[in-house]
């Protein structure tokens, strides 16, 4: 039992720091930049992505075990993951619509951005490589969401300064944001002494 707990915690730490979705893999970097513009978006997107990566990882564990050992099974994984996430998306929307109509009205415009993005899908694909066992899948999925929150928070606190008049006009906004994320990504790599092989 303690072994499973330790493995789960270790995979959460790995997905938050060592293989942060944004800084190490650039999964959902555009969504993180969009979400970081408002404090409420940071929280909303992070909750949405964390819930989705955790639940989807649980379901994906069952299908990975069935399909991945088959020849050409990997070719069908995107389709399987799309179906899993679509089902969770529809169920989530239904629960919001019926249970929290005010919240549904607020989030319905951008909820698909929080669900159908590289951070959620990337977590599922990486799970098949790193997430050993059910607890591992859950840990990696949950950690990816937390890693997304950490990244969003770090981008959010710099957002105002990076959009200020002190930045040369052609670099203001998106270009300087990418350079800033690059520098943080470098810091994360140095922190863990690890580089993704690509």
């Amino acid at each position: 039992m303690s072994n499973i707990f330790a493995r789960t915690i270790s995979l959460i730490m790995v997905s938050v720091f060592t293989q942060n979705a944004i800084f190490d893999r650039a999964f959902g970097a555009n969504v993180a930049i969009y979400a970081s513009r408002k404090d409420s978006h940071v929280i909303g997107f992070s909750i949405g992505i964390t819930v989705m990566t955790t639940l989807a990882s649980m379901i994906a564990y069952l299908f990975d075990g069935l399909l991945l050992p088959l020849p050409y099974g990997d070719l069908f994984m995107p389709l399987v993951y799309v179906v899993i996430i679509s089902l969770l998306y529809v169920i989530g929307l239904f629960i919001l619509w019926r249970g929290f109509p005010k919240l549904y009205g607020k989030v319905k415009k951008y909820v698909h951005l929080a669900i159908f993005n590289c951070a959620v899908f990337g977590a599922l694909f990486l799970n098949s490589t790193f997430g050993k066992g059910f607890a591992g899948y859950v840990g990696y999925g949950f950690g990816t969401g937390i890693g997304f929150f950490v990244a969003c928070f770090l981008i959010n606190i710099a957002n105002e300064k990076l959009s200020s008049d002190k930045i040369p006009k052609i670099f203001r906004g998106y270009p300087i944001m990418m350079i800033y994320i690059g520098i943080i990504s470098l810091a994360f790599n140095v922190l863990v002494g690890y580089t993704a092989e690509f």
Partner: protein
């Protein structure tokens, strides 16, 4: 008037480039486009998955609610992924395996999920097919630029041919990808700004 109707809209190349201006598709460029061959594989897969999906999904009725339409778009893209990867594995077996994760992620790229609704499906079919192709060309342009710069810097080669000694081996790292895309984006803004001001000057 007729002339302006016939003119091809090249927004997708610079002014609304999916990597440099709107940042809709960045992950494959930042992490995976580290050599020209990888850039080629990414471009082919982006074309096959996104472009064909955009053309096919146009036939999905707009009477279907938005929530369900988005799901159908991703399902079509996930189906397109299968023949794309089979073909790429036959043509570039090693490189395809290296960048596989980023080919898989193209199923949910924002060109399919966002641009279709906000731009492509508001245009007539013919115009849309050219417009979407130009957006793909914009992606290809950045992919090859990133691939060329990073291959020379990190490996000292170009398409596998020796050019010089590796100058910055870490150029293949994601952090360098972020910084390079940021610099490219600034250059792209400068080019767009200059084009707009010269156009204004001509019209005055």
């Amino acid at each position: 008037m007729a002339e302006s109707k016939k003119r091809i809209n090249t927004d997708g190349l610079f002014r609304q480039n999916v990597v440099l201006m709107s940042g809709l598709v960045t992950a494959p460029i930042i992490v995976a486009a580290t050599t020209l061959q990888r850039s080629l594989v990414l471009t082919i897969s982006f074309f096959a998955v996104s472009y064909v999906s955009i053309l096919l999904c146009r036939f999905i009725s707009r009477k279907i609610v938005y929530t369900v339409r988005i799901l159908l778009y991703t399902i079509v893209a996930a189906i397109m992924f299968i023949p794309t990867v089979i073909a790429l594995r036959f043509l570039f077996p090693e490189t395809t395996q290296e960048v596989m994760l980023y080919i898989e992620l193209m199923v949910v790229n924002s060109l399919i999920l966002a641009k279709t609704e906000s731009r492509f499906y508001l245009e007539p079919y013919g115009k849309m097919s050219v417009d979407a192709l130009i957006f793909i060309a914009g992606f290809a342009m950045v992919a090859f630029a990133s691939g060329a710069v990073r291959e020379i810097l990190s490996y000292g080669t170009l398409f596998g041919f020796h050019v010089c000694e590796p100058i910055i081996p870490s150029a293949k790292s994601p952090f360098f990808g972020f910084i390079l895309v940021g610099i490219f984006a600034a250059v792209c803004r400068a080019v767009v700004g200059r084009r707009v001001s010269s156009r204004k000057g001509r019209s005055e």
